[in-house]
Amino acid sequence: MENGHTPGALAALARKIERWLADKTGGEVAVRDLQPLPGGACQDNYRVDLSLTAAETGRERRMVLRSDARRSLPASLSRQEEFEVIRAAVGAGVKTPAVHWLTQGLVREGAYAYFMDWVDGEAIGRRVVRNAELAQARQRLPHQLAEVLSKIHSVTPGTAPHLRFPNRPHPDTAPAQGAIESIRKQIDGLAEPHPALELSTQWLTENAPPISERTLVHADFRTGNFIVSPEGLVAVLDWEFAHWGDPFEDLGWLCVRDWRFAQLDKPVGGFAPRSLFYAAYERASGRPVDPKRVHYWEVAGNVRWALGSIYQGERYLSGEESDIELLGIARRAVEMEFEALRLIDQGP
């Protein structure tokens, strides 16, 4: 990840950004600061401070430059596809940073990249669910997030037929079927047998909800991907797993135990009870919440995250990454495996 981030390479990228943006905006552009940002598995992200002179851009802007990394995660979007999804979400009124200037080859030969407005606030999950200065924000979050989700779920293949999700099953595949296919493929790629994942995946197959409704699904809608300030929600981030699916997938994922950051008694993201959030979502979306379907997707979410965490460890073990945290995450897969079985035993 740190490859290519020598001072020389960063300076060269800064000059390239200046030339390209000057041409794009028709004004003068200076890069005041350019810093690589940690964390993206399938993007190279930079924080960039710009001075611009073109009338419509504003003068001083802090932005994020997101570029495709050399490698992508299964089922994730390219920056080109993600750019279109975010534009559709912004168009639907979703609180998410606006995106600008999609281009190819700016950061790396052939790679798509775009600029995104910078937002200030707290995203670290354990702080969002615990920090005292965010207590009032936590009161507002369930309502604000229900509102945001209802707007995301108002985008459908009918309203946004141009959206493309090439790394997902065919759009006519039933949402649960698509999820099971993706889980199966990942299980087949594991180095060790995982009887618990076999059991929970069998349950997912036998209990797949027979539904035909399909909406835009964010698919990583969870504490840790929300920017929060003391006033409440600032923005929803991380659209790389978005796809057409069952809207209740987002509700289930938000309740997955690991995203509660140890606040187990607040099942919705570690900050709210289910009944409060479901009622807020029903009010905002007009769609009655089916707890059985949310439970289904919460089980699926635990299976997905168990696999995700194992594959995080593989990124270290393959030599591709050197962050020891990936090994810590991989060793926690057993927590999600257990939770999936426990949830099934408990029922909706």
């Binding site: 940690p38 060790e192 047998p193 995982h194 009887p195 618990a196 076999e198 059991l199 069998q202 135990r257 187990l264 008694d265 607040k266 099942p267 009870p273 289910r274 962050d323 020891i324 945290e325 090994l327 810590g328 060793r331 926690r332 057993v334 927590e335 495996e337 257990f338 079985l341 426990r342 035993d345 408990q346």
Partner: protein, 137 residues
């Protein structure tokens, strides 16, 4: 081979050093978080070393109970390496039988309980603070 300090004592000392001495002196937040992760991993390995022999033996015997035909006629696994190999074969067999639906309803119920029990025991060692009770909101 030198025994004292033992492997477990060394790992515990590494974890203690990382948390008590290295962690407070690091100002970089991302780096100090990784130090805690490293200490936690050293603690996990120490805890597993302490109990893995019992854990492996008990799991083999529960799996043999569940799938007697999978161990029938086998020479008993004596060495630690043999027992590890046997356990991993039994895991593969169990995963295979679940996927191919070769269990009766009763066997499947027992397999379910066995798998959950095995996860629960691993969790009790790797992350004792993880709440393993059945009822959670």
């Amino acid at each position: 081979m030198q025994q004292r300090p033992t492997k477990i004592e060394l790992l515990q000392a590494i974890a203690k050093f990382l948390v008590a001495e290295a962690y407070p002196s690091i100002s970089d937040k991302r780096l100090s978080f990784r130090v805690l992760v490293a200490a936690n991993l050293a603690n996990i390995v120490a805890a597993e070393l302490e109990s893995e022999k019992t854990l492996i033996d008990e799991e083999i015997s529960r799996l043999a109970d569940l799938m007697p035909d999978a161990v029938a006629g086998r020479a008993p696994a004596e060495s630690e390496a043999e027992r590890r190999e046997l356990l991993s074969q039994l895991h593969r067999e169990l995963a295979e039988r679940i996927r191919q639906r070769r269990f009766s309803a009763e066997e499947k119920r027992r397999a379910w309980n066995e798998v959950k029990e095995s996860l629960s025991r691993t969790l009790a060692i790797d992350n004792p603070r993880f709440d393993r009770s059945q009822k959670i909101e």
